[in-house]
Symmetry: C2
Amino acid sequence: LVLSCSVQASHPNLVITQADVLDMRKAINEQGRFATAYKNLKAKVDLQMALPIEVPVPKDGGGGYTHERHKKNYQLMYDAGILFQLSQDKTYADYVRNMLLAYAQLYPTLELHPARKVKSQNSGKLFWQSLNEAVWLVHTIQAYDFVYGALSAQDIKRIETNLLKPVALFLSEGQPSTFNKVHNHGTWATAGVGMAGYVMNEPEWVEKALYDLEKSGKGGFLKQLDELFSPQGYYNEGPYYQRYALLPFVTFAKAIDNNDPQRKIFQYRDGIVLKAIDTTIQLSYSGLFFPINDAIKSKGIDTIELVHGVALAYSLTKEPGYLDIAKQQNQIILSGNGLKVAQALDQGLAAPYPFISVAFGDGSDGKQGALVIMRSQLAGDQAVLFKPAAQGLGHGHFDKLTWQFYDQTKEIVSDYGAARFLNVEAKFGGRYLPENESYAKQTVAHNTVVVDETSHFDGDVEVGNANAPVLSYFETSSRGTVSSAKIDTAYQGVELKRTMALVNLTELEKTIVLDVFDVVASGEHQLDLPLHYQGQLIDMNFALSVSTDQLSALGAKNGYQHLWLKGRGLPEQGLAKVSWLNENGRFYTHTSLVNGQEEFLFTQLGANDPHFNLRNEQAFVRRVNNKKQHQFISVLEPHGEYNPGKEYTLDAASQVTQLSYSQQGEVMLINITIAGVSYLIAINQVPDGSIKQNFQYQDQSFSINSRLAVFALNDDEE
Amino acid sequence: LVLSCSVQASHPNLVITQADVLDMRKAINEQGRFATAYKNLKAKVDLQMALPIEVPVPKDGGGGYTHERHKKNYQLMYDAGILFQLSQDKTYADYVRNMLLAYAQLYPTLELHPARKVKSQNSGKLFWQSLNEAVWLVHTIQAYDFVYGALSAQDIKRIETNLLKPVALFLSEGQPSTFNKVHNHGTWATAGVGMAGYVMNEPEWVEKALYDLEKSGKGGFLKQLDELFSPQGYYNEGPYYQRYALLPFVTFAKAIDNNDPQRKIFQYRDGIVLKAIDTTIQLSYSGLFFPINDAIKSKGIDTIELVHGVALAYSLTKEPGYLDIAKQQNQIILSGNGLKVAQALDQGLAAPYPFISVAFGDGSDGKQGALVIMRSQLAGDQAVLFKPAAQGLGHGHFDKLTWQFYDQTKEIVSDYGAARFLNVEAKFGGRYLPENESYAKQTVAHNTVVVDETSHFDGDVEVGNANAPVLSYFETSSRGTVSSAKIDTAYQGVELKRTMALVNLTELEKTIVLDVFDVVASGEHQLDLPLHYQGQLIDMNFALSVSTDQLSALGAKNGYQHLWLKGRGLPEQGLAKVSWLNENGRFYTHTSLVNGQEEFLFTQLGANDPHFNLRNEQAFVRRVNNKKQHQFISVLEPHGEYNPGKEYTLDAASQVTQLSYSQQGEVMLINITIAGVSYLIAINQVPDGSIKQNFQYQDQSFSINSRLAVFALNDDEE
Ligand SMILES: [Zn+2]
Ligand SMILES: [Zn+2]
């Protein structure tokens, strides 16, 4: 253990230091983004400070008046505190002081919150959950630190004795189960208590925050850094929750660095804090987070937690790509890191952020499956998300091996995300809708195989948490990105194995997505592979029987009850094509190589939805029956442009004219003819992908010494 | 008659003059938008000129190879011609010369086009329709004019004798029915022939173009200016066709002005050319044209026809608002007018274009009903389109008295527009879809009353063309905009009368839309009033019986066969509310004042649509049965904000708490309480709206001497 040896000397010294303050004071008198942000915050806070201070007796749960008021108060104290530091105008310090004194008067009178939820979470006193109380402390301790120098000794005593120390003790000794827990809620508690320790010169509190109440190292902030992220910085619940989890890590780590630089917190676990920030950015497309698990789709990189994260990442690395993200966030925070970002942006130092193709190993050891992202810039900014990731706890979806596709800023092959209208009272009180369980989490709501109309793990989250898929391989090169994964625990006696590739056809300036989904079972089953597409259906190349004046639900449960069956068709052996037009103006054709046994079911979401809670999205489901074994093979091809504004339409028809699949030893061979060019795509499946494989194809010899190879064939027929 | 006395002296002298050319040559050597546009065009044309010239023997109809090639050729000749004038590089002139000579060789060998459509339209020789041939001439004659100075006397003779004169004669003497017709197709012909007359010194052709082949004045360009636009410059078929019709008017008028300034063409009919341009702009919202009639929704002000129009409008008026539009168009044309726009934009002279509330009288006399636009900037940029306009010929919809609403850049209450995927072969050859007739044109596809599930005029376009609604009044002031209109010919024995207002509630910084629809019939009928809304249904304040596992079509014909009935409810007497959330993040609540007899039918588009041609949009239909008389009264209220990205939701619930309706003499009185404020809205219906009316309400005396008054009532209850 590294013992703390800091001496509490000066204020402020948490996230923002005295040196930062001097720089910031200079900057607000110059032109630039920082000064603008300062003026905007000042105008906003001045409006609030004109109103009387309200510190109500706690009464309401989440969303209610006293709850929202106490949330507003900690933000106001924080903002007024930083304004005091920058302006040196004592009015701001007085405002914080008066509010702190009001809290110091109230707090000793409080019992546990009257609206507490006894079973589900530890209660706070100001708030119904101790989580909110910890967030309150994280902000308030910083505000206190800002105004410390303007307080009388008597005020300091009252505030520390009656408010800040009791809150810190309540959140640590008072709730060991949360404080010691290796969980995001624990992080807020350790961050608050640890920072309180720095400010009020209680080094023991810092030790406990870092190593748990017993200083055992089994819990506490460092253990949280060890376990809540994978070695690459991926957070098990997915990006929507990752960005939320980020803030206490970023905040407390910076305070530790300022107070105890010898702890080298930013080097901890090979720089895990920075990795966690960077991974959050990588988990976005066109400014929005990939909507896996219970994610609300409009959440993106401009979220305030990531504004803090990016400011820290830039200040640690000076990588100009972070400035590009900061520019899109369009928000400057008033801190030392924020100043560095603002000044660099003013100087025009931003450069494109390098989005990459990557497999993020899941779980604290990075071995609980992986979240795979494939990107290409060949034909516009594209991304495939492939998800052989772990369940991701209670907000996880039963979506093993699902995928999504993004092109030209839009979702093309999509995930429903969470079924929820956040804070809209009329929609189930703004909470997760019943349809989140009955549809959004179910396997059929995803682009992966459903066996016998039953969700993965039979919809049991505990079983899901205990059984992750296995990432077989991932490789990226100039020819594209390929990955393969499998899972044999989603269904008893069934192995699911999926191989996906985003392939660059450089000669054609085109990309395609290859998808080979193998199912091998011990008994016979019905196998469904849905594809949820975004856009208007344009065409298919096979006959369809359409339900024109009567619709029924596709099934009775596990999400099927929410799908209207609009039409069905059984394409003959060969290529089965379905085309749609996305709102981005591009066409997409999904070509399946079928054997005459795959039925295509076209669906629309919205059945059994009495409150109109669901968006009416479209899908088609490939179905085979009574199968012990089946291989779903398909190619997704973006093409053409629909521009009715300029009155032209280009390449509205698919250019895939031939597709065949074969295997030689461990090498998967896909022969595809597209726009008149014949390609042989080889995927090497041997356990050790670096071992060179030789194979023959159409009387030619080939070899592959990587996972993916793409050969342009001599086309003798032309 | 004003006789032409111009002497053909110099080239070029059509849309672009020699003086323009000198200015443009200077500008391309300076920095700025014009030089950039020049370089871009040059790069584009250079690429094309590197390929061999192709002047194929005509064979294909619209969309086919020879058709598209000849279209491409006239644009190429035009572009190369202007590049020759600007660069003085003879390569460009040679290219135009060579192509013209190729045409001069081909043209004498041609008969009427093999793919001509004998019954529907005059045939061309290069194209299947003479319309395309006229467009070809309008471009080609300008290209010829550009390169004239670089041609030998021999070339001139061959080109004029074998090509240009025959084409001009073919389009005039050769097809008197089109040339003399007061119709948009006639405008292209007269423009082409008239300009050919200027270039080839045939003043008689100019006379015929202006006054018809007999020079009678019964047809020709001037008559077209008289009759195709209303006095305010509104084109009967609506904005989608108006912008298309605009180009030959703008082009030929400019050529007339340059050659025969004494004709004062831009003052003709009180400046109708400029009015037509300006009206086209007014008929847009957020850059897109209002999609009435057979309109494709993504068509907007950046359409090339309007780029030409705006350049002319700016050059005629120097109004900085046109620069604002030009900026949004983001395209500079290489002409004298284009240069003026580019330079003014470079100087930063643009100012917001003044969009106004206005009633455009329809028909050449302006008295065939009207298209009404109401705008407000009080709560963001809003527009109501109210349509007591004439049928608008074959592309018109059976939508008398319908309305649309726009807010914060989006459609809120919408029109389907045309059912068509322009040029998408798989979608019915890219033509209008069958569903354009069976759904999009039908009354139920609009937000207006349908009697007995039958469309207006029983769907007969001839009857529609002969019977326009009557605009009773229109008025706009700081309190808002109000209009009322009626029609008694849409259904036999039924009078439809609608009064709409976009009302500013200044104290609340809110707007509402008032809608009172009166139906009076001689017999009993079923009356339906649909409302097509854009967004996710959030809530209604009455019980609904929802079809959860089986859907059926709402009806059998006239568009009803395409609507799935999702649910129905019969609200009790009082206020019936339906709320939805638009993708712009705002909530909208439609509150109807009901008497317990209006049933609400919730529908989704998509029944009887075997080819998935329709977008699956939502509506609700208010229905009463066996009624001789009914009044549909409602208020549309925008409110709140949904921002899941920033995690807040404001005012998701309607703030209308009370609504009542009464009438005193000719004054309509709507009392509404919203956000705790009680308003009395009075609408004066007397024939002469300027006569002051007195009335009592809740023991207070009021008077109104305009159409619309809004009084904030003393609310004794508070
Ligand atoms: Zn999901
Ligand atoms: Zn319409």
